[in-house]
């Protein structure tokens, strides 16, 4: 969380005047989103979220993200809806940065994940994948199997500082995944970062109330998105894998979009890839984040443990499926 860009009361008043959303009455930086600066903007009409896109987001990709949210909202999915200015344009500039206002979503991210959260997540993820099928823009996943080797090479020399032998482990894993990646599985739009922070629930309810933060969304294997969620939602704080949670995720997903035998069979390799992807980006950030940065980098070790777990998995029955 961080507010990277300071926006003055005059800046925001001028900016809001470009929309038909009432007058600004309150404006507060919020601790949400690691890559961008987010403000909760209250106008005389409603609450909104204002996002300023900081340097880690490629401005060329913003039309994809905003177009996707437009598309998903139109299908009835609960995600931030880009608000278009009086001139029809959603992607604007503020304080020298690309910026957009989106609708405000109610609900809260769960901190202590329960099996019922994983059931709701499974349903919402499959709804997202289904809704995304009609979206016509295309953005390849820069953080899928082709991107891992160059990313690793940029921080390889520091890998063994995190854990002796980590460099060799990652190199071997990239060899394995490049040789065994299931390229032929069903493709579509994936969220690619659906951690609990990005999923809202109402207290005590199973159904997801909304999905946020589509700034890693891209086109890739749909089942790869499930593998990312399995890693993010189904391990306990003590690093043990909770089969009940995984079973809920997979079975509720399957009720909305049926998983093929090929997708199920590929889950272990996809989960290894999903582990490696976050291990690599965390390793990169760990090595490259200055000590005085506004954001503390996440420790890569968590994903070493997850990768080792999936390396030992023989088939998808380890994830709770019969």
């Amino acid at each position: 969380m961080a507010v990277y860009t300071d926006v003055s009361d005059e800046d925001i008043s001028r900016f809001v005047a470009e929309y038909d959303i009432g007058d600004v009455v309150s404006f507060k930086g919020i601790a949400e989103g690691v890559e961008n600066t987010n403000f909760l903007l209250q106008t005389t009409k409603a609450p909104f979220i204002l996002t300023l896109y900081e340097k880690r987001v490629n401005p060329d990709d913003l039309p994809f993200y905003l177009g996707l949210m437009d598309h998903l909202s139109a299908t009835g999915l609960n995600c931030p809806t880009p608000i278009h200015g009086k001139d029809g344009v959603a992607l604007r500039r503020l304080c020298g940065r690309p910026a957009a206002i989106t609708s405000f979503l109610q609900g809260m991210s769960p901190r202590r994940i329960q099996p019922h959260h994983c059931a709701g997540l499974g349903t919402a993820l499959a709804q997202l994948h289904t809704a995304g099928l009609g979206f016509e823009m295309h953005l390849p996943n820069a953080l899928s199997v082709k991107g891992w080797r160059p990313l690793f090479e940029s921080c390889q020399e520091h890998a063994d500082d995190v854990e002796p032998g980590l460099g060799k482990m990652i190199g071997d894993e990239i060899d394995y995944l490049e040789a065994n990646w299931p390229h032929a599985l069903p493709k579509g739009v994936i969220h690619a970062d659906l951690f609990p922070d990005n999923v809202f629930f109402f207290p005590g309810k199973e159904d997801v109330s909304g999905l946020i933060d589509f700034y890693f969304a891209c086109n890739d294997l749909l089942a790869y998105d499930i593998a990312i969620c399995m890693n993010a939602w189904c391990f306990e704080p003590d690093s043990s894998f909770n089969v009940t949670k995984a079973k809920n995720l997979l079975s509720y997903y399957g009720k909305v979009r049926g998983l093929s035998d090929a997708e199920l069979a590929a889950l272990p390799v996809l989960a290894r890839g999903a582990s490696l992807r976050f291990l690599l980006t965390r390793l990169y950030d760990w090595v490259n984040t200055p000590k005085d940065a506004l954001v503390t980098p996440k420790n890569p070790r968590e994903y070493i443990t997850k990768l080792r777990f999936h390396q030992r998995v023989e088939n998808a029955s380890a994830y709770g499926l019969d």
Copy 2:
């Protein structure tokens, strides 16, 4: 700004159930307040602010702060109103910390101070001082003239690291202020930290829409609060003193609560004291904040310049009064 304490969705749901304010629908850490952790809490009824009091606030002083906000709100002043639980209690505990919910104030802090802001500030400050006269609790100001010498002694050895000769300058100034402090001026409740961050306006409006952050409030000389505001609002970014702003602050203040000749005559010494107070706390924080802290300490130099300005002032006419 910082969120020092993580509050889970389950914690907040349980906590909100102790009040009659509806059910929680959203809950976001906000970048407001340096000392405490603040959340914007949206319930089915209204938006609120939840504050968790962190270690820099003395828990023994919290009944004074909350009682003061209760009192000021009852007089019609726009400040956060403490929300009392179903049991009548406003000061509760959450995640091991004292915590309170207050009403949400509309408006925004100005970033680029205009003379009209200082007029509105003068009116609001005098209204605050007048409204505070009926408040019966008492909290001495730990950061007034008696507190400066011990505070300086705790960080004296590092003063010259900020600027050569600073140690001697501060020591001499404390001698001067202890000998010349105008103890007999009118006393009452002061805000003591009324920087622009803590004052809300609606865009383009002169009137203050609300005052926040009463966690330095105390009993002291009312005119000392004016001196603090003069320092915080009437210097330009290039360190020059803007007489028009000071004149607005003082004259609009005087329309609500007339300033005595003794108060006007004491303004230069009070302004020196107000400069020294923030110079000392910033010096202390500069010396004592670890490099990896969530909050970056403010540079003390700004207040060296302000102190030097007031040392050269001969009488209150330098502040724009005839």
